[in-house]
Amino acid sequence: MANMAQAIRMALHYAEEHLGVMDIFGEDVGPPLGGVFTATQGLKRTWNSPLDERGIIGTAIGLAMAGQRPVAEIQFADYIYNTIDLLKIAGNTHWASNGDWNLPMVVKTPVGSGIRGSIYHSHSFDATATHIPGWKIVMPSNPLDAYGLMLSACQELNPVMYLEPKALLRVKGEERIPGEPEDERQLSKMIDAPLGDRSAWRPQWPALEPYAVPIGKGKVVREGDQVTVVSYGRTLPLCVKAADTLREQGVSAEVIDLRTLWPYDWDLVKASIEKTGRVLYVNEDTEVTNFGEHLMRRTVEELFYKLLAPPRLLAGKFVPGIGLADALELASVPQLADITQALQKLAAEEP
């Protein structure tokens, strides 16, 4: 099966062939490298930009004004912070012009921990992104969703922030992308650039088919009735593992992959909490003014009398960075054991 980087690449190929995407650009996005995580190798519409994040976001806005459907990359989300006022402009242009202009653009950027990236290759961006109105914000946790969300993003009329959990970019999927060949070695031969000189290399794209993960729709990935856990990105597969372990111990946990952070699938979350009466929100951004805190507030305000226990948030520690040493990273952001424990505790909590 394809990994997430390959899935994104295939989605972008589909988008440049069929969805009118004319520019896929950013630092080292074009040949010869095709992106530091290989997500843009072999694509027709890629080009390398100057090393200038404000220029990248600004140009994407301009291209979108001219109706070009750009996909812009910020190499690491750690370096998107100096573009925040441009992101705000992208988010407010439709509103500020009272509906006159709209910006069909995608910004993709790898986020989060998991590759021992130290202080400046481990930042999350979901808490900050969800503070910027006017964007749609998505974050896949597996290759098939990565493919389907990118296809939806490239058909949007509005700016879409596509957050790529970098710990999962090399993880293979469990479900086949429509059109993906049976044999993953064959896929690799077809679409992965060779090492060394690749100037003569051309990818051989499989006959990819459209597949949509609608923006705004979450997914129940494990059904359960005692406790709900809502997550996205890197921590989502950990929540699934934790739920599977707990199931063997007789605890039934429902796992929801939010997939879209804004506008998020409250109906799905709400229905699950109404069933279980217990909810744990998990993400790895720093925990103060965290997006999970918003979900907790809404849970308390709307579902208070249905709750059997206080809603909980498991998130990154509010420290200035993620340190390089193993122990530092593991202590800073939620790991499998933290999630399992938190779920266990919550499931056992009685009013």
Binding site: M22, D23, W47, N48, P50, D52, R54, G55, I57, G58, T59, A60, I61, G62, L63, A64, M65, A66, G67, Q68, P70, D85, L86, I89, N92, T93, H94, W95, A96, S97, N98, G99, D100, W101, N102, P133, G134, K136, L157, N158
Partner: protein
Amino acid sequence: MSRPRLLNREEASSATLDRELLVRIHDVMVKARVLEERLIQMYKQGHGYFWIGGPGEEAFNVPLGLLMKKGQGLDSDYLHAHYRQSATLLALGEEPIGALRQMKNTATDPYSGGRNFAGHFSRREWNIAPVSSPIEVQYAIAPGTAMAQKRHGGDGITIVTGGDAGTAEGDFASCLVWSSRPANPLPILIIVTNNKWGISTTADGQHGETRISDRGRAFNIRSKTINGNDPVEAWRELKEAMDYVRTERKPFLMEAMVSRLYGHSSASGANFVANEVDCLKEFEAKLEKDGVLTREQMEALRNRYTEELAAAARQVRDEPQPAPESIWNHIYAEGK
């Protein structure tokens, strides 16, 4: 209102412009000045919260608007402006009442529906990108429309304008870098209207470069500093620069020296400053001397616009404010 005919090369390079065009430029300059004075008055009478605008830049901004290729899409020119561009909008044929509506933040404000400050124009059907308050961001955005135009072919260009103090922002450097990439030079006219002021900070204490236009040289961008207080010079220089950008599909950096006749904004009082060159006054003296227009004709014109705008201001006064529930409108575009 008819558009002025475009001059051919010989005419454009002669010392002055033909009579019809001089009269046309003067007409829009007066209209723009009267509009700004009306906006200031509205502010002072409590019919608006904040004023910022372009009195003192008419001699440059009117020719700019008259020379633009107006329309929507890649074959027309894009304008990424700052908040002193009313004269350019009027030169394009915009009705001045829209600016009054924005001043009064009425629901009828055609640019932002009562959401944004005066002078924050937006008009997609004419490729006028929404003006936003953060200084210099338009310089980071403009290369995007220019890039689309380059790919498209044709002779549409992108124009970006802003002040001198803002060039200290990184976005100005971004614009120079992105416009002159050897991989893809862009058809973009980069304009700086230099009034030598930030809000209260003067350029001489902050800027070591002799001229802002000198910064183009490092990027092999053709550059020039011109007297933006003379509409004839502005017309000719803009025409030449725009022809170059249109045909060569390469960037041009133009610095225009202009005046700031009512201070920075209403925050600094919006009172007339007597010690700066008034481009309209100078132009009128010249028109009178050259026998193009008489003093009486020019006064009659000013009176006519003053009356028209006073009537428009009265009309706007009674127009409804946006409804509170409208805050939820247009957060996202749907199904276009």
